[in-house]
Symmetry: C2
Subunit: 177 residues, 2 copies
């Protein structure tokens, strides 16, 4: 199992959002197509911007905290028909572990906000990984995003085709988040 | 405290989504402007449609359930500068009550999906309520929405002006959800 970090957010040629995940201490990673709402939420989480009212993921985290739950990690454990499957691992207040089926996009937003790590199973990495050395994505670090830029700050020259060649004709209606 | 139900979803003249809530067994209610993402999530929840992967609110509910939490109710307790404030009330597995600050839009989506009731404080109702007798909104009941129509099934002749007169120049950037 390999730890990944959020390398960037981009739009492909058909304006579908793609999250670029990079395996720590390598130049290898992979892209996951996510929905526009999830992309917006991720961009807001990355921006570190505070809002006067709790957004959905804030309410989610507050509720888990009130119930004594603690997030441990998320694991991207499978990829099938271009859809990535993840699990959210959390402990209840008795220390019991709970593993919950989740979309990677939700895991990423929660991870950015809460600070827990994200891992990818070796088999998924082996199947999906590409060389990110020449990727011109800006690294998005929590709090470094310019205010109000959010998801508009896209990468112009991301070689989406390199990512896409790992997907046989991504179906727009078959969201991979 | 009065119980409310979701009477309908509509768009105002500037295409901002409005949720119409009605006090049970009356023709009185009020409108809350919500964000487009939350409106979409609410429409999906009302449609009762199942998705192959858990959406954000499904993950939220699954996580609370795994931690032994039980939703009791949501309460719209305050309105200030056109912004409605709500609280989410849930019990942990030891029966202890937790009250969490939330936006009405999140409470509504969770309530529709989970089946818990929504209440409004008398003072909020007194300040915001209007007569809904002539409102041409279709009642949206869980599961009754035509498949794939979702939020596109808007009400054409909703008298938004009647709702708006309760708000002094709603600020588009000052979301009331």
């Amino acid at each position: 199992m390999l730890q990944v970090r959020l390398r960037g957010l981009a739009l492909d040629q058909s304006n579908s959002p793609v999250v670029i995940l990079e395996v720590e201490k390598t130049n290898k990673g992979f892209g996951i197509w996510i929905g526009p709402f999830e992309a917006e939420a991720l961009a807001l989480a990355v921006s570190g911007k505070d809002f006067p009212r709790p957004l959905t993921y804030d309410l989610f985290l507050n509720t888990v905290s009130q119930l004594g739950g603690t997030f441990e990690k998320a694991v991207i454990g499978q990829v099938k028909d271009n859809i990535y499957y993840a699990t959210l691992h959390l402990q209840d207040r008795n220390g019991q572990l709970h593993v919950i089926d989740a979309r990677p996009s939700d895991c990423l937003v929660l991870a950015v906000k809460n600070g827990f790590p994200i891992f990818v199973e070796d088999a998924v990495f082996a199947e999906s990984s590409i060389d990110l050395s020449n990727l011109q994505t800006d690294t998005l670090q929590h709090g470094q995003e310019e205010e109000n830029e959010g998801f508009k700050k896209f990468v112009e020259n991301l070689d989406i085709e390199e990512l896409k060649k790992h997907f046989r004709g991504k179906d727009e209606n078959n969201e991979s988040s």
